[in-house]
Amino acid sequence: MNITRRQALVLSAGAAAFAVAGLNSTPSFASAEDTEKAIMAISGGKMPETGKVTLTAPEIAENGNTVPISVSVDSAMTEGDLVESVSIFAEGNPNPDVVTFNFTALSGAASATTRMRLAKTQNVIAVAKMADGSTYMDKKEVKVTIGGCGG
């Protein structure tokens, strides 16, 4: 394959742009892979199914320091159909872990609300672990105007 001078220039320009982009990305932020690793640790190696769990988060959060989030899982919360825990992960935070809610048969319903920090616009993921070991997930993108987490 012959590369013309013009093509070579385009290629090298592209490579340079890529290198610059790579340098600019801050390594202190969690990547999607870190989040996936954390999810796999809960699910035992396979991607959780979607459904059953509902994550409620604002579409746009003006202040990333306090973003209200709620989760609820469709479950009878009896011995045979019990939600063990729901974990929340943030893909674009310095650390993907946010919070884990641990339920019991006395919880009555598998629902919880809290407020979290978001460093930037990113996906928030809820992973529910049932007592029988099956896992379910839900994902919401939250646009953040002013990031939390300080700096």
Partner: protein
């Protein structure tokens, strides 16, 4: 500084009712990622664990990480079958445990 937690538990409920409990504790939830004016990292200091017990039995707990907002707010449900007392505990990174108790009449 963490102050006395604020907890909202209904005073009365019917047997088997699922009640909603709201809790809030004043705490800076210092993430350990921020820097002070000299550019040095401020050490992490957060509430890392919350538990709710009813008549001595654990009914709900939460593991908190640095991404939970300052003054952590937690809302959850509990099914009550009998009258009794709730005991709520917040565990600080420095080992301090803040507690609060609330009673409920079921009948």
């Amino acid at each position: 500084m963490a102050s006395k937690p604020r907890v909202k538990v209904p005073k009365k409920a019917t047997a088997g009712e699922v009640i909603t409990i709201k809790t809030l504790i004043s705490h800076e939830m210092e993430s350990g990622l921020r820097k002070d004016k000299k550019g040095e990292l401020i050490p992490r200091k957060i509430i890392n664990k919350f538990t709710a017990e009813f008549n001595g039995e654990l009914v709900y707990s939460v593991d908190l990480h640095a991404a939970v907002s300052a003054n952590p707010y937690l809302e959850f449900t509990v099914k009550v079958n009998e009258s009794g007392t709730f005991k709520f505990s917040w565990v600080d990174d420095d080992g301090t445990i803040y507690t609060d108790e609330q009673s409920i009449t079921v009948g």
